[in-house]
């Protein structure tokens, strides 16, 4: 029955039924064929999947990020990043990546950052003579650090699914996110040097200070967010709502780039994005109920533990499974579908749950660039009318860094676990 479920899901996705409805449709068909189960279980599971106070952090972090973008902080952060790294070969490419690292601390969504930064940076890069495909590759790849650096929608999702502390996951993601970003900067440096991409004249220390002052309220936002939840002043959801208030105050009264009439389109588009994500979550919840009802997690665990109980091998297998799934599915959907199946297995193999959360989320972030459903790559290509194949080709060195980063994070847990151990008890 599980094979049948997967088959229908795959067919439904291929004939272009939206992911959320594909999950729902395959779930429905299997439910009709299952005896002694009322169809009411489906809306019941969907409701249970969405009705969660912790998941409320998703729309709020999205809204805070969108408000910050609408208030024009992108240019401010860009100016600061450019004053620091613009002087190196491929300065603008590096600026893009550094901006994404900072933006990662403001919004929790790779696709939102990809659009906000890409709409300014990709035209600028092309104007300075970077090839279109390279501009696309830099933009699509740099955006994936956003959901690794806290706050992160994926960590919220993982925390809700496994009952692990979202705060701890946030803290654990900081170092891996920045490291992968630095890896991307190295790639940009070497590629730009080889292809002779331009550098900007170095900024004086004073210019760096001035641009920092102009963007400090945006750049320091993650410090407030993390501070609020590590000290226990706020829960993660409360903190996300306070981030909205912060973004409103900064946008309306400090930077003044945000006008009252901008609020309506920003809130509206946040509602739409929320609906898209949460419908996937609700449907995936019903889908995973069917998988669990058909004993898929036990069967998978039994099958794998029969062959090996070595965590090294198990993690490798899990990584391969998630990478393949990430090529075809949206990251949140993969989490909701696969974590209930894989998590029990990792617990039997005595893998730290926070460490596994980082692995799973970083893995799915790498999947954001891999075609055919590489959300950031597809979006960047659409924005510049670049061919997907060209963008994918120039993405290869960045993808390599992503894979290396994933491997290192998988097999060297201290990278993710040291910071939470230091900051939290």
């Amino acid at each position: 029955m599980n094979a049948f479920l997967m088959l229908i899901l795959f067919a439904a996705i291929l004939i272009r039924i939206p992911l959320s409805l594909s999950l729902g449709f395959s779930c429905l068909v299997v439910l009709f064929l299952t005896e002694n189960v009322s169809i009411l279980i489906m809306p019941q599971r969907m409701f249970a999947g969405i009705d969660s106070f912790s998941l409320l952090a998703i729309p709020f972090f999205l809204l805070a990020g969108n408000l910050m973008t609408a208030s024009g902080i992108t240019q401010r952060v860009l100016a600061f990043a450019n004053s620091v790294v613009g002087r190196f070969p491929g300065g603008l490419a590096m600026t893009n990546i550094v901006t994404n690292i900072f933006f990662g601390g403001i919004s929790g969504s790779a696709v939102a950052d990809c659009a906000a930064i890409g709409s300014i940076m990709m035209p600028a890069m092309m104007k300075e003579g970077y090839g279109k495909s390279f501009a696309v590759a830099v933009n699509a790849n740099a955006a994936i650090v956003a959901p690794i650096i806290p706050p992160s929608i994926l960590f919220v999702m993982y925390g809700v699914l496994t009952g692990q502390s979202i705060t701890r996951l946030f803290v654990a993601g900081a170092v891996p996110g920045v490291l992968i970003g630095l890896g991307f900067i190295l790639v940009a440096y070497f590629v730009s040097k080889k292809r002779n991409y331009p550098r900007h004249s170095p900024s004086s220390f004073k210019e760096i200070l001035v641009t920092f002052k102009d963007s400090a309220l945006a750049i320091l936002m993650p410090v407030f967010i993390l501070g609020g939840i590590i000290t226990g002043a706020f829960t993660v959801t409360e903190c996300s709502a306070m981030a909205v208030v912060y973004a409103l105050v900064v946008g309306l009264f400090v930077y003044r780039g945000l006008k009252l009439r901008d609020l309506i389109p920003v809130i509206r588009s946040t509602c739409h994005t929320t609906a898209i994500i949460m419908l996937i979550v609700g449907m995936a919840k019903a889908f995973s109920w069917v998988m669990i009802n058909n004993r898929l997690p036990e069967n998978v665990a039994a099958f794998i533990l029969q062959t090996t109980s070595n965590p090294v091998v198990i993690l490798l297998m899990i990584n391969v499974v998630l990478l393949i799934a990430g090529c075809f599915m949206e990251a949140n959907a993969v989490l909701v579908m696969f974590i209930p199946v894989l998590y029990p297995l990792t617990q039997m193999a005595k893998i730290d749950p926070i460490h596994f959360g980082i692995i799973a989320c970083v893995n799915l972030c790498v999947g954001l660039v891999t075609p055919p459903v590489g959300l950031t790559l597809n979006l960047s290509c659409q924005m510049t009318e670049c061919k997907l194949e060209d963008g994918a080709r120039d993405s290869l060195p960045f993808l390599a860094i992503g894979f290396i980063g994933l491997l290192v994070l998988t097999y060297y847990p201290p990278l993710s676990l040291t910071l939470p151990a230091l900051l939290m008890r």
Binding site: L14, R16, P18, M42, L63, M242, V244, C271, L279, E330
Partner: protein, 163 residues
Amino acid sequence: MQKLLDWMEKALDAILILMMIVMGSAVVLQVASRYIANRPTSWSEEVARYIFVWITFLGSAVVIRKRRHVDVSVLTDRLPPRAAWVVYLVADAAMLFLLGTLTWAGIGITAVAHRQLSAAMDLPMSLAYAAMPIGTGLMFVFLVATMMWEWKHGRRIGGGEQL
């Protein structure tokens, strides 16, 4: 017909915006009541959660009108237009079947939930569950309207929205 739906879409968007504002205010109020009034509110979390369910399903209805739910076009992009139309027809039929069934099942679960009271506010749970049949029902209507528009104009609306 399309005019009526345009109007419905606008109305739904207005409701969504209002709901988002109330949802955010509820959580901010919860923080404020704990730190300033020193008396945490019990209803705020429940209000926010149930509104969240409503936003999900009403928003999904608005989003389906321009086919902005995330989808995958690797196969259909490579098909000749006529074949693609046939594939789309099958896909839409499957979607309508799902949405119709969900509306019906949603009414069922709402009826069951009507007899339960929410933990904090003592309101019938059907107030929250009703988001599902209403939302999926509206999705059904909007999808039919979109299909009719496409049939008349001979082209497909939009593609998947990037999240």
